[in-house]
């Protein structure tokens, strides 16, 4: 298996960054990790995961879609799309790596979202297997193996070396492009690392979380559950869970009048927001209960209903640590679960 010694990782990053934009997770001053554009000298974070998910690379918080010039009765449409630059995201965890395939099922199905596709086509996802999962992790519940992450390229760290394995054509090309810096080596030590990680996984408090009772077939049953009232009563209707979530993909389209033209942009939106579904003549989801229900129904029921049973959650645990009032999908699942 191709590998590089951990103490040489900087030279690898330098080499990649020379050719294309490289993003790696780095530690912030407040201790949280975030993806940053690599510059020589940056140290990769040892954190389990970044505070914000990696979806930003393909589905940024805001992006301009199109511009208009208005004059008299005339409107001029300006297509401002540009070919994305090639880039590499290094160190994506298994949960986030899976999230891309979920986003793909939204943005790459007909009609294809060219803005998303553009970035997706030009981005190489290099994932990294987990070794120190946290108590908030529950990716296993969604069939994700954190010791075998998806991505164009998968990586493992045994403490001395980082091992590379390409999974896609794009990934292969990437590994080829850095192969001069890699060496072939014995990967047997990884088995121990994986086994240890799996042992830890089994000890995690959420290890026994089951998705068995969820899916598209119990739509009305869950929709009409009496539990929603109690679950949603303390929800403050902010968008934290949505915005840290790697799979939440709702957006709003808005116009910004610059004074010299209109910029039409899209930005993240949250189904938890009170005006998310508001329209000129009313709002179909009038209470926080309905909005709260929408979010979890979408992940646990609607998404699987439309996508062959695949859930719209990857168990990254971000919402578990970030929700201001500590309400989250795990609590919802446990409360709703039909025994």
């Amino acid at each position: 298996m191709l590998r590089i010694a951990i103490d040489k990782i900087d030279s690898l990053f330098d080499a990649i960054a020379e050719k294309q934009t490289l993003y790696i997770p780095v530690d912030r001053e407040d201790g949280a990790a975030e993806y940053k554009k690599y510059e020589s000298g940056m140290k990769m974070s040892n954190s389990l995961n970044t505070l914000r998910s990696a979806k930003d690379f393909f589905f940024p918080q805001t992006e301009n879609l199109v511009e208009f010039k208005m004059e008299g009765k005339q409107i001029e449409v300006k297509d401002i799309r540009e070919e994305s630059e090639d880039f590499v995201i290094f160190g994506v965890r298994a949960c986030d790596a899976r999230s891309f395939s979920i986003l793909d099922k939204v943005y790459l199905v007909d009609p294809v979202d060219s803005f998303y596709k553009n970035r997706r086509d030009h981005g190489v996802v290099v994932s990294m297997a987990c070794t120190r999962p946290a108590e908030t992790c529950f990716c296993s519940a969604f069939g994700i193996d954190p010791t075998a992450p998806e991505g164009d390229v998968s990586c493992w760290n045994d403490g001395s070396y980082i091992y590379f394995e390409a999974n896609t054509e794009k990934g292969k090309a990437f590994v080829d492009s850095i192969s001069s810096l890699l060496e072939d080596g014995d990967a047997s030590s990884l088995e121990n690392v994986k086994a240890e990680t799996k042992r830890i996984l089994s000890l995690l408090p959420l290890s026994n979380l089951s998705t068995d009772s969820f899916g598209g077939d119990k739509l009305n049953e869950y929709f009409n559950s009496e539990k929603w009232a109690e679950l949603s009563e303390s929800c403050i209707g902010c968008g934290t869970c949505t915005f840290v979530c790697p799979t939440c993909q709702c957006y709003d389209i808005k116009d910004f009048n610059t004074g010299n033209g209109i910029k039409r942009f899209r930005c993240w939106d949250s189904c938890m927001y009170s005006d998310f579904t508001k329209m000129a003549h009313g709002n179909p989801r009038i209470s926080q209960l309905e909005r709260f229900r929408q979010r979890f129904m979408h992940k646990l029921v609607y998404f699987p209903a439309n996508n062959n049973g695949e859930f719209g959650c990857v168990g990254c645990g971000r919402c578990l640590s970030k929700c201001p009032i500590s309400m989250n999908i795990v609590k919802v699942m446990k409360a709703l679960e039909v025994k």
Binding site: F256, T258, G259, N260, K263
Partner: protein
Amino acid sequence: MQVNDNKEFQPLIVAFCCNWCSYAGADLSGTNRLNYPTNVKIIRVPCSCRVNPMFILRAFQRGADGVILCGCHPGDCHYTSGNYFTRRRMTLLFSMLDFLGIERDRTRVEWVSAAEGAKFAATMNEFTEAVKKLGPNRRLEDLRCKKQ
């Protein structure tokens, strides 16, 4: 922001003037043909207390380099107390902008009575110069509104 032929930086100054004192003061400086720079554009408000901090930020967003608020002298407010509220609001707002590292000289409150045409012109001259020295507003700009 506007750039004239000799490329000297020409700041855009938005002046909010209360209808009763400062707007009349501005009129008087016109009546007396007292020059002040074209950079200054006046917006008439009934009272300085009508000026919402949002208007000031909005001006900076849209490309203003300086915002000045003019009202009746304390005690002379046409509405008795409006400018006293203005004074507190703007003191706190400006202090907050300062706290965020926005240049202090981009904002100002000045009391100009209807009789102080000369003061109005002098204030505008002085303020425009002060803003000119700072250069274009960068710290509170909205790049989307930047002129191509």
